[in-house]
Symmetry: C2
Subunit: 718 residues, 2 copies
């Protein structure tokens, strides 16, 4: 097995040309890129490497943006609720919000504003409120002691990623970049012209790396040191709102959309909550617009003989690589910033020629959570090893074409061991890539369908990174699945309610908190959905429910699939209904083969609904893992899932047991080692997911003993 150069994108840095070219050689980089805050010098551009240039079109021409303050991006905000003490209440619109980010839009779109009595939940008629000097709204004829809010439009005068980079790196008086709104025809025209000229001016660039398209995910900053960020959601379309779009939406769809459809009484349109019908329509409307303009941009780039890649983060909203129309853009590559294995699968699964991962740590002094990386107290090598061993198991299952880094390369100078480790990572990546190129790895015949409110649109993700919402059961499930040799597809509750469980699914997974988009919320009050899943299992299908699967307050059950699962949950309205006692089952297949009971947590009030459900693990008197037959099928309930080696094995066992399938293929006794078989190459790749040295038996064909260094990888003949 030989490794060669290539498949690696290095962040170059003007002023550090020697370092740039030395590391390019050492890491086998075929491409050099710039980053936010860095540029590439002539010496680098002429070094014979491919050149990626990052462009964030909406904020590139800041002079133009400053000269056109009415062409900036907008969004709705809801004020803090204010309690009326008399017949009139005055509400300061921006109280609590960053005035560096937001200004009240008082020149267009006032017809979209809404004032609510949040104590009654009712809107206040338009004639009872007015916008007055100083960014305030006065509401008259109010009920004393009721609470009032205003939904209002703001313009953003600081693009949020620029804001983040600026604040994180203490950029002082460097100018604040502004994001223009491409729904204005003048903006569209300007962007395309600017891009055209840019391509002319940058003959060295081989790949334009769009970072990203037009709309960032929602990110509201605050002005209170105790609340510096108010709201941030990786998938929320708040920043696509503006009066032009609102008017065009109604003209195009005939549907009415209001500020409250975005504000949702202050919950906004978080990806973690089930979307409304009108919001789904808005998303589709936005996707159409982003596709049309994005494709025009790609065409410009192609016309200049360059490739166009797009970054699947930051202003990615509307891009939606899993909308089914992604190929229409004509992008040559998709780049994903990754911390976790599921994000590698998210990238790998998109239909595009080149899949590239931007690894972490980012070459910044501190990380996204404010901890030091390339700075005093940081240990970037350990960080890099942890990220890579987390990711690598996913790369064994689905091919990734390229990896790379971002940031300030010069920061790596004091960290020679980091430079060494990245060279090893680049080699491992090229080896795995070659194995995929030679033929697909072995995959179990068991087909898993993940069932959420979003379905395939949110394939291999919920929303954002695992560290942002580590409590999400489904994210941990996805992270475990990312490195398992299973076939995984994603399906929406609406799709199953309308057409039944798809034919190509053997085991359904529903995982998450009650009310969330991941469990599904009120969709489970739809008898068609419950009936479809019940019939599927009764006829021989498998179901793995985690957390609060199928949960909603409706009729007799809280878990609407309680009859199938054999467990339900008392949320407090059944405290005098006694709970069945049980003995723990011994030696069940779900907990076999090195699986453990780590991270099962407990869902308080879970109880058995049937005498024939088997309890595999319990917390006190509360079952936390159960298995039950239902008709010709089977169901497993797990109270929670925290990604880890023993938990991943348990999840795999649960899926296989629910499918009525035996464990086959290649696997290791110690679940901290994972095995991928590449039959075409006749190779087994065994990777460690732990920072301890381990020795384990690899099963499949002839059993053999394998030793792995901490985080190590070995390649064996099959």
């Amino acid at each position: 097995m030989t490794t060669t150069a290539g498949g690696f994108t290095l962040p170059g840095e003007a002023g550090h040309e020697d370092l740039t070219l030395a590391l390019a050689e050492r890491w086998g980089a075929d491409v050099i890129r710039d980053s936010d805050g860095t540029s590439l010098s002539r010496e680098i551009l002429d070094s014979g490497h491919g050149i990626y240039s990052t462009l964030c079109l909406i904020r590139e021409d800041n002079d133009w943006a400053k000269a056109n303050p009415d062409k900036l991006q907008q969004n709705f905000l809801m004020t803090t609720p204010v309690t009326a003490t008399g017949p009139e209440v005055t509400i300061e619109l921006l109280a609590g919000y960053s005035r560096d980010q937001f200004v009240v839009n008082d020149w267009d779109g006032l017809e979209f504003w809404q004032v609510f009595d949040r104590t009654t939940g009712l809107e206040v008629p338009r004639e009872r409120w007015e916008l007055v000097e100083g960014g305030r709204v006065v509401v008259r004829g109010v009920e004393p002691w009721h609470s009032y809010t205003v939904n209002f439009l703001v313009t953003r005068i600081w693009e949020e990623i620029s804001m983040y980079n600026h604040v994180t790196n203490d950029w002082g008086d460097r100018e604040h970049l502004r994001a223009v709104e491409p729904r204005h025809p003048e903006v569209r025209e300007h962007l395309l012209a600017w891009l055209e000229q840019w391509c002319v001016d940058h003959p060295d660039t081989t790949v334009v790396r769009f970072t990203s398209l037009f709309y960032n995910f929602a990110w509201f900053w605050g002005d209170d040191p105790a609340l510096p960020h108010v709201y941030a959601d990786w998938g929320s379309y708040d920043f696509t709102v503006n009066p032009i779009a609102l008017r065009e939406f109604t003209a195009a769809t005939g549907m009415t959309i209001t500020s409250e459809d975005f504000v949702n009484a202050g919950r906004y349109t978080s990806t973690h909550n089930p979307p409304s019908e009108v919001y789904r329509a808005w998303m589709a409307f936005t996707q159409d617009f982003v596709l049309e303009l994005g494709k025009a941009c790609v065409d410009v780039v192609h016309r200049h003989g360059k490739k166009a890649y797009v970054f699947y983060d930051d202003s990615w909203v509307g891009l939606e690589p899993y909308s089914g129309r992604f190929t229409e853009y004509g992008f040559d590559g998709l780049i994903k910033a990754v911390f976790s294995g599921y994000e590698a699968r998210l990238c790998a699964g998109a239909d595009v020629p080149t899949h590239e991962l931007r690894l972490h740590p980012y070459l910044f002094p501190i990380d996204l959570e404010g901890k030091p990386t390339f700075a005093e107290g940081g240990d970037p090598t350990s960080d890099a090893r942890a990220y890579w061993t987390t990711l690598r198991r996913a790369l064994l299952r689905a091919p990734i074409d390229r990896i790379g880094l971002g940031g300030y390369l010069s920061l790596t100078e004091p960290f020679g061991d980091f430079q060494d480790y990245i060279a090893q990572v680049a080699d491992e990546h090229r080896l795995i890539r070659q194995l995929h190129a030679d033929g697909a790895p072995h995959t179990s015949p068991v087909r898993v369908g993940v069932l959420t409110a979003w379905g395939s649109l949110r394939t291999w993700t919920t929303s954002g990174h695992l560290h942002e919402n580590p409590e999400l059961t489904l994210l941990h499930v996805l992270e475990s699945l990312a490195g398992l040799p299973l076939q995984v597809t994603f399906h929406s509750l609406a799709e199953v309610a309308a057409g039944g469980v798809p034919e190509d699914v053997d085991v359904l997974i529903n995982a998450g908190d009650a009310g969330s988009a991941w469990s599904g919320g009120e969709a489970w009050a739809n008898p068609a959905l419950v009936t479809a899943v019940t019939a599927f299992v009764a006829r021989g299908g498998g179901l793995v429910g985690l957390g609060q699967p199928s949960a909603t307050t409706f009729s007799t059950r809280f878990f609407q699939l309680a009859d199938v699962l054999g467990v339900d949950q008392d949320t407090g309205d059944r405290i005098r209904l006694m709970r069945r006692t049980f003995d723990l089952a011994e030696g069940h297949a779900v907990l076999a083969h090195g699986a453990d009971d780590a991270g099962l947590g407990v869902q308080p009030g879970v109880f058995l609904t049937r005498s024939d459900a088997t309890v595999l693990a319990a917390d006190g008197g509360t079952p936390v893992a159960t298995a039950a037959s239902f008709g010709a099928g089977r169901a497993v309930y797990l109270a929670d899932h925290r990604h880890g080696a023993g938990a991943t094995r348990r999840l795999e066992n649960a899926i296989l047991w629910a499918a009525g399938a035996e464990r086959t293929g290649w696997w290791s006794t110690d679940p901290r080692a994972e095995v991928a078989a590449f039959p075409a190459s006749g190779r087994l790749v065994v990777v460690s997911t732990t920072d301890e040295a381990i020795t384990t038996t690899v099963h499949g064909g002839t059993d053999r003993e394998v030793s792995l260094e901490p985080g190590g990888m070995v390649v064996l003949k099959m």
Copy 2:
């Protein structure tokens, strides 16, 4: 201070006359009673003591009951849900239920049965189902994979307290007692005639102790060893249901009532859930009936020159000492079985001449939870001390006239230290009783109003004993309040919504889980309620919210009083809305004077809604105790409350701070000692609530140091 005999009720036991009379002397008993399973012999009856005879009228004449199987008590049950696999489903009615307790009533009232498709939540039309042989219902034309249940009427052939005593004491083939239904005119006539004759036959009896009236609290037994009890609720009116009553209810009220109004999709009418309007009407209708017949019984007893006491447990349903009409019965006394201080207040607060507590441990080999008491491995003296020191602090605040025991006196023979301890208890009781007789204890001017769905009907209780639902925040609050020198009243949400917070309340308490009758559930979606409490606090009132106060899913907030409290809770639909950071306040009055942060627990997702709310204690980043001003008033939030010395002090501090009041009166530095001042007697009573010896300073007037034995009590001059 002298103690005398009296105020003590001793359970006598035929065959143990010497013991009975010796202990009567030693404990200062003025009254001897019989108990379930014991009788009094001539020697005891002639001993010169008052004689209580326990009567449970509905099960006294078992021969008559057996001869009239159509005159027994009934109730609704819901079957276990059954999933249809084809166009027809057969449901076995009694599956899972005790056939010793229940038989299907197939001779009357079939028109009240209902069959539901629980997948759709809709009722199945009557023509699509029929009752068939073998206690089964066949439902035709069903939807495959939907889940079906039947609400049906059963007759009970074993009265539940008889069942409990029988099973607990292994009574083998002793006959099963049956409860007759007094709604039948023949039953009513028989009961009154029987009571008349009984009084004639029992000239020695001075007090008829009704144990209790006509309807037991709901208690469904199961037939599965893993689920021996299915449902039990101390305040639920399920056992008042029968076809006669159902028909009379509609005739009397014009309201329709259905089986589903009692079954509630399997949740039944648990006291812990907010009651529906029709169920409240049913309760009132039942109370009228119980009062009318109960009064007739009391009249019989009085006519025979005896007194009539009633036991406030077991078949107490419909009695409702806090309905406002309790005095109409003409009872001479109310007897309450007590484990906790709040139950003593429950008894003391009823409007009746004599208040008696039946102490624990009950003289049985094992206790209600199955642990040994008067048996190998038991320690009844420790049990008695723990109960008494728990109770005694409540007796300092409200007068109790009598105490007593129940069960088999002979079981105490091997436990001489128990006999000694009860002598001490009886003396302490008589001393406290005398102090009350000489003049009321000092009470703080601060008036506390406890706000629940039930209001005053559930004064000083939620439902049942603390050990039955130890998770209930409100029960712990009541237990702490029971021994504090505060004025406490109970108010319903409906009353406050309609008329505002009563004038005689300074501080409102709302405590409990979201959706429960104690927090209030959907009642909080009523703007009138939220407005009333908001206005009350804004104008200077106090609010102490515990657990999930005012919580319901409605509009902007989850805690509908979030604007007042300064905290709200994210139940999962706000996970991308960031939470305000905070510093812990030091030295706040709520945590002063020996208060601690024990038992505050955590409500996950609680966050600050205002920058001016003060965090007193936190669990990680989640506030668990906060204090905030609101207008002229104040609000305290506590995530939970577990009764204990430091927590009781904290609750008292919170109430005083919310009222804007200073700590005054008499109190001890160590909260494990509680102080009651009796100004008329010029005495301070200092009681220990701990089983450790303590020394503390008693404040008020002249500070002085006091030492207390474990569980001890001292009386000082003021």
